[in-house]
Amino acid sequence: MRTDQKPSLTWASAAKIAWRELQASRAKFLFVIISVAIGVAALTGVRGFSDSFQKTLLGEARTIMAADLSARMFRQPTQEEEQQLNVMGSHGIQRTQVTDTVSMVSSPGDPVPLLVSLKAVDPQRYPFYGTVDLQPAGDLRQVLTDSTVVVAEDLLIRLHTQVGASLKIGDSTFRITAVLVREPDRMSSGMGLGPRVMMTQSALEKSGLLQQGSRSGERFLFKLPANNNIAAVRSRLEQVLPDAQVTDFRESNPALTDGLKRSTGLLSLICLVAMVLGAIGVAMAMRAHLQQRIEVLAIMKSIGARSSDILRIYLFQTVLLGLVGGLIGVCMGLGVEWIFPSLLGKFLPLRLDLRLPWHSALAGLGTGILTTVLFCLPPLLQIRSVRPNLVLRRMVEEPSAQQSWWTRLRHSKAQWIIAIVILLGLGAIAAALSDSVVVGRWFAGALCALLVVILGVSALTLRLLRAFLSRTRIHLQSAVRHGLANLYRPGNQSAAVLAALGMGVMLILTVFLMQHGVIGEMKLTAGPNLPNIFLVDISSRELDGVKKLLAQQPAVEGDVETLPSVAGRIISVDGTAAEGLKLKNYPKRLLQTVSLTWSAGLPVGSTMAQGTW
């Protein structure tokens, strides 16, 4: 007998046979392709839309900060700090300094001075992102020089002056060259105490306003080269400037981005469950297909095919179905992504910059193929147990028929291994989709528990049906009797169908409940009714009058919310005096002036991390 290794069926031959079979059963496989496509479309659409939305938000976020990173401190950097900042600059990180302070300014013709929020910038570099809008329109680099300023319109009104006039700031006089309509980082500058006046850093120095002990805030804005690791730069910056409050652009709208992230993760998992449902359908279709092809499998085995040769054919077929379904799903998902903004247009404050979501498309495609293959593994591995003597007679004794269910359970090692592989695979996909290993673990565990419960209930239902039929058989019409009896005949997939139906109902219920939960949370954190005007420093005796005034304003919507506040000072924390506290990236001077507020109950939307209210 020859002992040299028998050659395997080539992938090309396997592909040819697989393709021919697909063509011969188009209608059946169309269902499989649609099942995969719907799941992939949902996943790609949701993640693609979310991706575009987040990227748009992040793009806007850079504008809100006018930079990638910001370090805020209340003193000038030391010489050593300056040196280290310069080292960072040598790595392509651009830096500019913005000084915020308050000062009294006056118009030459008006002796009454006005308190203004003064901002000094380097117009050659500032802003890194966004634009400074001026009236008349102009380029800040040309309009703002060491002898000029740009001012907010309310300053012109309050000082009865105009563009072209002079303004006295400190020791110097500057010419007003434009009205400042919009500055990108207005929100990052903090609440202004007066109208904005913008000048150059050299002009601020020339004015002599900044003296030892002057109250001013320094913001260092950084622009990172493309593909630079922002977390690493931020960490470095926190080391270089330990007193500074360092923030990066990703934090500029945490409520919205966090809500979006949570919703995306949740929707992705729901899509994954939908995909699992589709995959159960795919597995059942593949099982039925293989059942129909069992004679062909036996023929192939009788002429020398190994199980691995046949497995290659059907694995190729499965991957091909997953791929085609996945590609169609990706196209549909892109459609969903493009349709979403038109459906949600009025709820979105931004014009979405839609782009081809490669990551989401690949994630959807990969998930579609992987889920299809994972769920088709059990029927595919059944190929090993096809006996070649089926070519001689249709009915072949099943070795398992004479064994108890417990023995069968113990002997189905391969099925157990596959079940574990499927669970691990789904857990890994869930973890990847939600960016959380914990979620992946819970998802796989919950799905496993759910399937066990649903399959148990399905089996029980079928047993009860059998018992019911055995008692009422002769009283039922023959069509009903045969129809019901068909549900528990050997080889029927009733339990799997019932499990899939059960999961489908549960999925719809989960989506309904989750939808309520997520919408409630989003309303609370990023709803359209959040306040956009704040009035501060209202004394208790003025409060009623202010409320009355606001009630008369038709433009003011909703109830006016009042929040008590009193200025305070932190003396000690846990017995440690404020001076001795070791704070990380939090200026100690901020401990000197803190705003205290109070409420009878826990404010809506707040949660207690520790202790009781």
Partner: protein, 226 residues
């Protein structure tokens, strides 16, 4: 050379055990044409399946060229089937999604390696199907399908050919043609031919006739001696 020792086969049907073959001993020398005969349910096809390694015996052993195949692992058994045995079945058993040529090529792709296209085409021509190479089984008559099956069985020139009622589904003319081709292969290449049949006329061509009844050999005669 096929050697069978103490071969038994039984199956479970509910709580009952049905004995299909009861202690078969048989020796078939290389190149012999053996016709296995018997009534329906006598165990002919079961014996053929066990000889060809398509099924596992309950007891006993089957040796092919000195190698016991009854307890070989699946991959090794597939190798034996692929390289040493050729099969012809009553209902042709062609792969419906492959053309005649592709069906004949399949054993080559599974077991032979290399390009067997020329051999497969030549074989199909030799069985009178030169103009049917690219037809699918459904486009061929029963006789043509069986001739494709013969070409498939011959393509790797196996030393043993098993045929299960190869003429059972054919008219007399096609049946005679198929039988001629099988005999030709047996005589020209010296391949052992084990053929299960009901047809006494077919068995007349065999060197040896083995008759089964109720799972036992009740007659084993050499035709030359008859």
């Amino acid at each position: 050379m096929i050697e069978v020792r103490g071969l038994k086969k039984s199956i479970r049907n509910g709580n009952r055990t049905i004995e299909i073959l009861k202690c078969i001993d048989l020796s078939i020398p290389a190149g012999q044409f053996v016709a296995i005969m018997g009534a329906s349910g006598s165990g002919k096809s079961t014996l053929l399946g066990l000889l060809a390694g398509l099924d596992l015996p309950t007891e006993g052993s089957v040796f092919i060229d000195g190698t016991e195949i009854s307890h070989l692992p699946e991959d090794k058994l597939a190798e034996v089937r692929g390289r040493k045995l050729g099969f012809v079945f009553q209902s042709f058993q062609l792969i419906p999604t492959l053309t005649a040529l592709e069906n004949v090529l399949l054993p080559h792709e599974l077991n032979g390696g290399g390009d067997g296209r020329a051999t497969a085409s030549a074989l199909l021509r030799s069985v009178g199907l030169a103009d049917r190479l690219h037809h699918y089984p459904v486009q061929l008559s029963g006789g043509e399908q069986q001739r494709v099956a013969l070409a498939r069985a011959f393509v790797l020139q196996p030393p043993i050919i098993f045929a299960d009622e190869p003429t059972g589904n054919l008219d007399s003319e096609n049946g005679a043609h198929v039988l001629d081709l099988l005999l030709q292969r047996n005589r020209s290449s010296g391949a052992t031919l084990v053929l299960v049949t009901h047809d006494a006329q077919v068995s007349c061509h065999a060197d040896r006739r083995v008759v089964l009844r109720d799972g036992m050999i009740v007659e084993d005669t050499m035709q030359g001696a008859a």
